[in-house]
Symmetry: C2
């Protein structure tokens, strides 16, 4: 499917539509208007219609959206209708959480192996996934056609891990180390600390709740 | 310090300024222009000046900012110049990662205890922090004047945990469960899955890299 370039802000909202539609589907809702969907998501209806128009529009004016088919379309656009193979570098707590993160199941992202340098971890398994020495990272990525490299390693090594992952051929990097890694492939940096800092700010400045991390 | 209401977008950029200024300070940089700071952060200079003006402005025109004093000001605005006591509900992998997350040290957020319902975990310690039964959550929060409740529990119980934390008197909630919890106090929801979904999208639509989670 060839799409025109959509803005980062629209891309960021797509997972939210996806989640909301999953909820609606599991609640047995078959059809929803843009107005109602917008209300549930605290957006406005014209925003919702505009977002969906970026992808060719799915709705019938005045008739609303079919939840299941909209969900299917968005799954396709988000490219969640194919499997992804991932590795995690860093087999500590965050790495371990990634190895069996419940959120992945529906997204068909499978962690195949973890990598670390600590001798006591090498050769063990975490949630059934082998922990291998980081020296084997590039070979493993090439041999197993790994799509996504996840970084749960220390700040000091995160960029070099990203470089190695990119060189070995992953298609995207999901980084949890507390610095921005840079690459020529897509990267998502999860800034846990930034979110915590925003929370501290809001606590002290009594801002209202529920501003999501997007 | 009384501040006029600033936009969510500005608040979201503040931790980024803070991190960049920390890097500059540890690199021994004493003074920086808004233009150079903007360039390093891939913003434009007028944006940087405008953001800082929200907080009264710190710079001298044509002379740049003193890194250390700007850092101090931003620390104060972000309210990182006071300690925060936190508890974590859910002593699994993510909870364990939160109990000894290196990113917290500089922000003076201290996890005091974890809570879980699994008998085999109760009475143990994780990174030196006690794991208590979730039944004791409210009493603990009250007795220890806990500021921040962190949720690393299952999706199905996350909202009720948030309700209990709020009732017991925490000032803010940091939620890692894969749904938005709602409260009358500040909440930050970390949507790990949304970020992963955006990465899948970018991999398939060949978007450029490095769009941070803000």
């Amino acid at each position: 499917m060839e799409l025109r370039r959509v803005s980062e802000a629209v891309v960021r909202r797509l997972p939210k539509y996806y989640r909301q539609l999953l909820l609606l589907e599991s609640a047995g809702v078959e059809r929803i208007s843009s107005g109602k969907l917008a209300q549930q998501m605290r957006l406005n209806a014209s925003q919702v219609r505009q977002d969906f128009n970026c992808f060719g529009g799915f709705g019938q004016q005045g008739y609303g959206y079919n939840v299941r088919s909209l969900l299917g379309e968005i799954r396709g656009i988000l490219a969640l209708d194919r499997p992804y193979k991932a590795v995690v570098v860093g087999a500590g707590n965050i790495g371990g959480a990634l190895a069996n993160f419940e959120g992945f199941e529906r997204e068909s992202v499978v962690v195949e192996a973890l990598f670390d340098i600590k001798p006591e971890l090498i050769g063990t398994t975490i949630s059934g996934k082998p922990v291998l020495h980081t020296d084997a990272l590039e070979d493993y990525i090439r041999e197993h056609d790994i799509d996504i490299g996840m970084i749960a390693a220390r700040r000091s090594v995160a960029q070099s891990v990203a470089d190695r992952m990119q060189t070995a051929g992953v298609q995207g990097i999901w980084n949890f180390a507390p610095l921005d890694v840079v690459a020529d492939i897509p990267v998502e940096n999860i800034h846990m600390t930034d979110s915590l800092i925003c929370l501290c700010y809001k606590i002290n400045h009594k801002l209202p709740d529920n501003d999501d991390i997007e």
